[in-house]
């Protein structure tokens, strides 16, 4: 859940259960969630040095160690680069409860981005999932969005 200190600009992630941790999302990450809520689309950021487009946007290109500021509007579609269907039970340290399994962990290359975005794929039958498939993000209804990664429910396979 995200705490609404100043929804216009800076968001903070907190845990579902009361735990003494919360994390600043920062300016770029907060803008990403604003864009998701307002326009249901992704936004990335381009490195002035290597020209790589990153999503989610962040302040610094790690390999170049260069500050980035050129935001790049993206769509809500991408391509599956790798995946795994998680079958084994485990405790989620963010909730203290069992993570619901099975679920499919996917590495998604969003259209127009050069890096990989990690999220969940809405299909757990291995025979129906293949690297290279086209995906589309499914969002929560706007009024239920919290400025959290789960504002994107999952990705549907579209072809």
């Amino acid at each position: 859940m995200t705490t609404e200190r100043d929804y216009d600009k800076l968001l903070t992630v907190a845990l579902d259960k009361a735990m003494p941790y919360d994390w600043s999302i920062g300016l770029h990450g907060s803008m990403f969630f604003q864009e998701i809520r307002e326009n249901q689309r992704f936004v990335g950021i381009r490195c002035p040095q290597c020209k790589k487009v990153y999503v989610p946007p962040r302040r610094v290109c790690g390999p170049c160690y260069t500050e980035m500021d050129e935001l790049v509007p993206l769509s809500d579609t991408g391509t599956l680069r790798a995946f795994s269907v998680v079958n084994y039970p485990f405790i989620d340290p963010n909730t203290g409860g069992q993570r619901p399994v099975p679920y499919t962990y996917g590495y998604i290359q969003m259209d127009g981005a050069d890096n990989i975005f990690s999220h969940i794929i809405n299909e757990t039958d291995v025979s129906k999932i293949e690297v290279g498939m086209r995906l589309k993000a499914v969002f929560k209804p706007k009024e239920k969005m919290q400025g959290h990664i789960t504002d994107i429910i999952h990705f549907d396979i579209i072809s």
């Binding site: 992630v13 941790y21 994390w23 999302i25 990450g29 990153y54 989610p56 790690g62 390999p63 680069r81 790798a82 995946f83 795994s84 269907v85 998680v86 079958n87 084994y88 485990f90 405790i91 989620d92 340290p93 963010n94 993570r99 962990y105 996917g106 590495y107 998604i108 890096n115 990989i116 975005f117 990690s118 999220h119 969940i120 291995v126 293949e130 690297v131 290279g132 990664i149 789960t150």
Partner: protein, 386 residues
Amino acid sequence: MAQKVAIVGTGQTDHKSHRPDVTGQEMIREAVDRALEDCGITIRDIDAIVIGNMDHFESINYVDNWSIEGSGGFMKPIMKVTTGGTTGASVAIAAYYHVASGMFDRVLAIGWEKNSESDTTGAIITCSDPIWDRFSYSGAIPSLATEATAYMKQYGATQEDAARVAVRDRNNALNNPHAHLQRPITLEDVMSSPMLAHPIKLLDVCPRTDGACAVVFAADGEAQRLAKKPAWIHASAVRHTYSWFGDSTDYDAGLVSLARASQEAYKKAGITDPSRELDVAELYLPYTYAGIKWIEDLKFCGRGEGAKFVREGNTNMDGMIPVNPSGGVISTNCIGATALLRVAEASIQVMGKGGKRQLPKVNKALATGFGGCFWSDVMILGAERS
């Protein structure tokens, strides 16, 4: 120029899934005692200690402080180094730096883990970014599985190709009295084991082990006095990527950190044809697909040839480049000790102390560590003073 350094003694516990008979500190002491005994010194001869294990695992902080009665570090310079799965190799490399600097003559490196007392998956999940990655990340297995699915798609490798790696390592472990899993397995056993996270099955992946490892590093002059045949450090290299899981894997380029680290180490050690010039490799292969994929990054064979290279027996005990005579990570995985065990086992081969798992003639040996967000550490050891 740096001082020449050799490994002169190693010690490890008899690894088990659960050691309720000892505390963590007591388990560490077993490995330390064996390492000191191996080179005929006492804890008084040790000038400094480097120790490490996995952050968050046993829920014990300040491990360097807490473990003193096991490490023997009372009133000695002691440093904790922890870099995820690579911890054991990072501990070894830090101990090497200590001696190579000329400031210390005999340094003890220690890695340990009580996996039975750890929330392994939960602790590993907390290494992922809390805002973006943690909600979908589920620990080591699925992030490795993603790499495997991309590789299988690219090169047509099969689950059977990977299973051969488990069969090789698990059957090698039968020659290692310290190994955790000591039951022989077949290809059918691997293929019929339960699917954990597609395409990784139970027998494709490392166990959870309680165990510790200790290694004594000594300076030139002292090393020849302490060991009949010291294992000289010919090279070490470290390559760590950054924190975004997806970004750390460039599927066209392979495991970039391992390719870069091994390239640097080969260059330092004067190796141009690794599969022919190295006599043995103790590789941190936490799951079977790594055994066909990462040997390509190590340049044992070309891109997409890993499965064939293993299938043809090149990595067997009598092959061109025997991999994991100890049984490797798939047979024993006390995580903070795991990469240090690779260094220890490589040096055991150079020192000729491998017993039933000893190869006939080892002049050069490779040890690797893998962990974190697709990080790699590499060390090359040799019989020649270098």
